[in-house]
Amino acid sequence: MTYRQAKYPEPLVFELSQSEREGGFFNPEIEEIPEIPPKLRRERLNLPRLSEPEVVRHYVRLSQMNFGIESGLYPLGSCTMKYNPRACEDFSALPQVRDIHPLQDASTVQGALEILYRLERMLAEIGGVKRVCLQPAAGAHGELLGMLLVRAYFKDIGENRTEVVIPDSAHGTNFASAAMAGFRVVVIPSNSTGRVDVEALRAAVSDRTAAFMLTNPNTLGLFEHEIKEIASILHDAGALLYYDGANLNGIMGKTRPGDMGFDIVHFNLHKTFSTPHGGGGPGAGPVGVSEKLEPYLPVPIIQYDEDKDKYWLDYNRPKSIGKIRSFFGNFAVLVKAYAYLLMMGASGLKEATEVAVLNANYLKEKLRRIPGFEVRYDPEAPCKHEFVLSAEPLKRETGVTARDVAKRLLDFGFHAPTYYFPPIVPEALMIEPTETEPKEELDRFVDAMKQIAEEARRDPETLKRAPFSTSVSRIDEVRASRRPILSWKQFVRLRK
């Protein structure tokens, strides 16, 4: 094994600080600086003092101790870690994007509004929905908006519905979002093929049901082919169907959530539409809705006046729930997604989906044949963009867990898959290669998994101490949570 992550013994900025050292400088032009009343005045500001060369070097070094898509395969299931086009970064850094203010007069931001309007149309087309709100900053934020729309809808039509049904394989955000919006969460089990147990769903749905939240393909990477039946159950009960768009990369351009009967659809632009994850954000989680939910969408709606060729902001929406976030959402992220969509075009999106699914099936077939791993649910069915491998056989045989396997993968220069999710699969390793990985990298990954399985038998103890090639060895995360140290300020106080 020859991969090795960079390692710098890099202190914290506070430890690098010197008692006097010049950082940013500006030359004041106005000489008269108002005197701040003593009561309001700050006395001490303990920020570190570094020169610019030190700051740059510090963060360059830190960056090298971090793994991104540009470092290697990042098969983190459910996260769609695909290549983020560098061009989109340049586009969103244009001064016409960066240096505009959300409160500018609409006449001075027609370009920005046009992009938002066009992006909305494109997402509506991809999702098969009527209109799309671009405000949410992430998928979970979109879910919350979705749930608030559900609330507003039933309130408006005078129905008191208090429950949201969610499959047990769903992502944690679904449960949390429904709860935040004030719904009681009703969990239904998956069936033996890993999909929605339609009978259980039927049993769970009642006139208390406000909505069913579904990820399709689901978190096992399996398409919920009984979706028509599912939609009927919900709609017949007067409830709504919510689409968690985290897995759109498995079907985009091949089918549309709106066509399947979903009433509310969120998109994860930082997954499907290739805006970078940024180490956790910023993302964007636009929410599309069918006609009947349109009135409740947040303000403003961006409208286009064809006659005047002008875009304008429509705040006159009496049923709107108001705002879900300030301003227009993560605009610079939206610009990236817009540019990505233009560069992909209709054919490119379809191709992306097809190859993402092909890559996933390719890996699935190779990996599930390695003794020690198995695919639990419906292994013969094609998966979509991802699949979940269980390392339970390996664990049973060698004591090596999914987590150990994941940690060991880091030593091969790969990021690890998502593990222990979804919870319905024991020793789950959730693997999503995306369409931007070359076959060679997939093959190397398969080899690594083979080697690890062998190693688990040969020398499980070493394996359990992995990783060895990362900048630090295995971290004691449990202890770190027991008495958390969350800032330098706290650390210094405790040290004293």
Partner: protein, 459 residues
């Protein structure tokens, strides 16, 4: 087939063969035929160059700060972003990483986020800062929910003069759990919290009292100790909303009893970008009763299992949705990590002196404008008799409208402030004006001059 972002397009056949299937369509056989899309109604792929052409054309319709001076603030601020800060966040290892679930392979990001938490902690004077929320407004929403979790109460007090957008988001966050949001009166002359009114509304069901300092309308609140006191005596949490740049000069909330602090981190190293990405600051006192109720990710100092080295990792994850699901402290998953890194790099670059300079130039500019504009017949500033940071309310008292005023300014290639007429009709024809170090003295003088001409009716 054959997009440059999709390496295996040409290996389809080979790979399908290994899978023993003939066509890629077979992989989609589980999608019911009736739901299959033939093709999306989108344009064919544009090249990178065509995309640039298109964007340049569309974006040429935007006017931007630098091309013209723009005097807008109100929760999103223009500040100079040093080139190296942008460079740092453009490093692919940060930019294209996911949430640092694999801490051993993500020390760089984790340390940078720990530094963000630490730097903001110094700035606001509280020890616990999370690794970011979406924006100020959603951070406020989460703060309200957290105050409910901590106190078990369901009423939340906010000042009258608050950004309506923020107020609306708060409302939506409170909607689900049925939390009521009520207003605290502010003195119409000074903007200061009406302590008597606060005393009145502060009952046993109040979970949190929220103020903004500086306020949405630019003035500072002087009675912070009294408010803190009243709040705590009522058993409620005291929450303060901030513009972090102002804290270079003004007393931090941690020094006057705030239990939680929220704010907008965008001015720390991020351009406005039409309002996003933004960076929700969220902090609380180091009290485990509070910390355990925090929403969002927390990065902690750790060590390796062998005990040899300092390291960093996410901590207290059991609060989060991926573990606790519907009982999580929040649904937040993706946050604004990269903006937090930008903020860290920005604060580390500025240092105490640099940040103070930024803040005081901004303040000096705004005060200069305030004074000069107030000298113009028919204009009045500031609307509130209090100390201001870098924003203030300008009122027009000659019968004309601010809309007209701003339109005429635009003709002079100046973008005026944010018109407040619909938000706070009681202020009359007024707008919120902001200045920072991105404005040169020439910009300020041009503004004053143009305003003078407009008011004289010469425009």
């Amino acid at each position: 087939m054959g997009h440059r972002f999709v390496p295996n397009s040409f290996l389809l056949k080979e790979m399908l063969k290994e899978l023993g299937i003939d066509s890629v369509d077979e992989l989609f056989r589980d999608i019911p035929p009736e739901f299959r899309t033939d093709r999306l109604n989108l344009s064919p792929p544009l090249s990178e160059q065509e995309t640039l052409w298109h964007l340049r054309r569309v974006l040429s319709k935007n006017r931007y700060q630098g091309e013209i001076p723009i005097f807008l603030g109100g929760g999103c601020w223009f500040h100079y972003v040093p080139a190296h800060v942008k460079y740092i966040t453009q490093r692919g290892e940060f930019l294209t990483a996911y949430t640092p679930y694999q801490s051993e392979a993500s020390q760089g990001l984790l340390q940078a986020l720990f530094e963000y938490q630490s730097l903001v902690a110094e700035l606001i004077g509280l020890e616990v800062v999370n690794a970011s929320m979406y924006d100020w407004a959603t951070a406020l929403g989460e703060a309200a929910l957290m105050s409910c979790r901590v106190t078990g109460r369901r009423r939340f007090l906010v000042p009258h003069f608050i950004s309506p957008e923020r107020r609306s988001v708060l409302q939506n966050y409170c909607e689900g759990i049925g939390m009521r949001v009520d207003e605290i009166n502010q003195d119409p002359n000074s903007g200061q919290i009406d302590l008597d009114h606060l005393r009145n509304v502060l009952s046993e069901d109040v979970a949190g009292v929220y103020i903004e300092n500086p306020s949405y309308l630019g003035f500072l609140e002087e009675q912070v100790d009294e408010i803190s006191d009243l709040t705590h005596r009522a058993g409620a949490l005291f929450i303060v909303g901030v513009n972090p740049i102002s804290l270079a000069l003004f007393k931090p909330p941690g020094e006057y009893g705030a239990d939680m602090v929220v704010g907008e981190g965008q001015p720390l190293g991020q351009s406005p970008s039409f309002g996003g990405p933004s960076l929700g600051i969220f902090a609380c006192r180091n009290d485990m009763k509070l910390v355990r109720q925090m929403p969002g990710r927390l990065i902690g100092m750790a060590s390796t299992l062998d005990g040899d080295e300092r390291a960093f990792c996410m901590v207290l994850q059991t609060r989060e949705q991926h573990i606790r699901r519907e009982r999580a402290t929040s649904n937040v998953c993706s946050n604004e990590a990269l903006c937090a890194i930008a903020a860290a790099a920005y604060l580390a670059s500025m240092g105490p002196e640099g940040l103070k300079t930024v803040a005081s130039i901004s303040m000096a500019n705004a005060h200069y404008l305030m004074k000069r504009l107030a000298e113009i017949e028919g204009l009045d500033a500031p609307a509130f008799h209090a100390f201001h940071f870098n924003e203030f309310v300008l009122r027009r008292v000659d019968g004309g409208t601010m809309r007209d005023f701003n339109q005429k300014l635009l003709q002079e290639n100046i973008h005026g402030g944010h018109i407040l007429v619909s938000e706070f009709p009681e202020l009359g024809e007024s707008e919120l004006i902001c200045s920072t170090e991105v404005h040169s003295k020439r910009d300020l003088d041009r503004f004053v001059e143009a305003a003078g001409k407009i008011m004289e009716g010469k425009k």
